[in-house]
Subunit: 332 residues, 2 copies
DNA sequence: TTGAAAGCGCTAACAG
DNA sequence: CTGTTAGCGCTTTCAA
């Protein structure tokens, strides 16, 4: 039985050093095309397969960052993940995506990721983590950064959803609207967040404080989905207490308002004004006024924060809060 | 970098040599009870996991699927990748994303991925692969599936872009439009595809065949980006030969048509009709007529196909072609 | 872009 | 029973 080929064999066959061979495996971009060709040919000839265990041993880090997020096609998620991927693409870290579709799955990832060596750091997006799970990450020295949710002792990027609702109310008031409505996504899975509720609370309490009303009949927490949004809005706009302005807890739902208005023959913003939340690309395309939560920028910040923690285990815990602001467009 | 505990750490904490630590792992019977107790205690305190074991488990827990795609934030890419992630989330596979930003980088990945033994299967999205590179994957038994591009002897998911252009033309003709325009993304990198050109060819040739004209001045291949789309459309719509209908090679560009129309005070579809391509979510939200290429479904199919190849190396090569169809909305 | 050389974490002789 | 030491095959500085 012939001995398995090693990078030494490959190197001498190709007439280069083992370093260069190693580089072909790990960062091929840094190797001259000619060298690479020779090395690949030599590998092929020798049926070379790198020994996983040897590289695991020698490797200082995995050069991999994971992102753990709910599986969702909601644009705000997609856009945030994209921005993280973008930030990562200018580093030499690989991105491993873990999409969570159930509570059990989440618990599974949370218990296994810290223990089994596969990533150098993890970004947890919009997913709640229990105290003991956090502890596990600490015990095994796997740095994490949480986005859209916070936890004591863990660095995070977040926003103040209550303040966001407040901002929406204040903005609509400043524009002179007198009657109000709200739509948001309700009945989210238990393992998810409650940003919607917080935005609602901020909105409602601010309106009340200013002596305005927010009748129950103008409020809708509905299932996720454009059709549900449109339907809810139609119901609200058909009611006797039809509002002049609606705060939609996400831009996608604001789109629902615009769609519903169009289908009912109403003009935006004259018959019905709407302000969304998130500032996804779509809001720009459709000219919807919204509250900017820096979806693109926050991904980059999260990556930087995580890498900082990876480089320096003693790095101070930071909670970065993005200041919200209204982006005024044509829907109010 | 945060470090995991090693036998060195355990050894010094327990006040013994690494050999002894190693022995309790391998032949505990040969270690004095007292030493063993101290060592076990130290291991517990440090959360020590032998690195080899961790890597072995890492290999066993998950199989890894890679996706090699151009680095792009175009919604159709993002949505397709998202759908692949979704399909994967219900399986025991990790998704590793490799974004390509240059021809060099592509060649690098293509030469190292088969050899480096880091993934168990690869989806190649919208990237051309040379014969010899395909051969390398075969030599190393790394299953691949290509999406949005095809190659002899490799399983693929694709669409007929020429037919798509034809479909757009036929649809617009059937709606009674008489004058036509086209916008698409031009000047793509050499390592990229030419779907746009093929859609254009199908569109143009069909129009000509039906005795219609497609004047040069109504055609624009512009840079990627909403602003460029809007600008191009404005130029076309300001021309003397202003068309009644435009085929946009992607939905995002169709959005550009809608935006441009709005800014020029024109009505869609009365003053200017537009049909897009892709059927991204955005098209639905904005009510844009488009050609559906099953972005969501194709990701799932690609994953299934790849897993089939991974499970059965002798699995027959399949080329799955999705039938295109027009989704009629309000923009035509 | 490349190579020399110093490890990586662990096992396995070999002494003691 | 325990420690010293020499590798395993690969990665990673650091210079050139």
């Amino acid at each position: 039985m012939a001995k398995k080929a090693t990078i030494y064999d490959v190197a001498s066959l190709a007439g280069v050093s083992i370093t260069t061979v190693s580089r072909v495996l790990n960062s091929p971009g840094q190797v001259a095309v000619l060298s690479r060709k020779k090395i690949v040919a030599a590998m092929k000839e020798l049926n070379f397969v790198p020994k996983a265990e040897a590289s695991a041993r020698a490797r200082k880090d995995f050069k991999r960052i994971g992102i753990l997020s709910p599986f969702s096609t909601a644009p705000s998620f997609v856009q945030r993940i994209r921005s993280i991927a973008g930030a990562l693409s200018v580093t030499d870290y690989e991105l491993i995506t873990y999409s969570v579709a159930s509570e059990e799955q989440l618990a599974g990832y949370l218990s296994m990721l810290p223990v089994s060596n596969r990533i150098d750091g993890l970004i947890i997006l919009a997913l709640p983590v229990k105290e003991e799970e956090i502890q596990l990450f600490k015990d095994y020295n796997l740095p994490i950064v949480m986005v859209e949710i916070s936890h004591p002792n863990v660095s995070s990027i977040e926003i103040d959803n209550f303040a966001g609702g407040k901002l929406a109310a204040e903005y609509l008031l400043s524009r002179g609207y007198k009657t109000f409505g709200f739509i948001g996504e309700g009945g989210q899975p238990a393992y998810s967040l409650h940003a919607t509720e917080m935005r609602f609370d901020g909105y409602r309490s601010t309106l009340l404080k200013k002596g305005m009303d927010l009748p129950e009949s103008n409020v809708s927490f509905h299932e996720y989905g454009m059709d549900h949004s449109v339907e809810s809005v139609k119901r609200i706009l058909s009611g006797s207490g039809k509002p002049e302005a609606i705060f939609a807890a996400s831009d996608l739902q604001a789109v629902g308002v615009v769609k519903a208005a169009r289908e009912m023959g109403l003009e935006v913003p004259d018959d019905i004004a709407v302000i969304g939340f998130d500032d996804i690309d779509l809001a720009d395309y459709m000219g919807i006024t919204t509250i900017n939560q820096f979806l693109n920028q926050s991904g980059k910040t999260a990556v930087e924060l995580l890498i900082e923690h990876m480089k320096d285990p003693l790095c101070a815990v930071k909670n970065i809060s993005f200041q919200l602001n209204v982006i005024e467009r044509y829907s109010t």
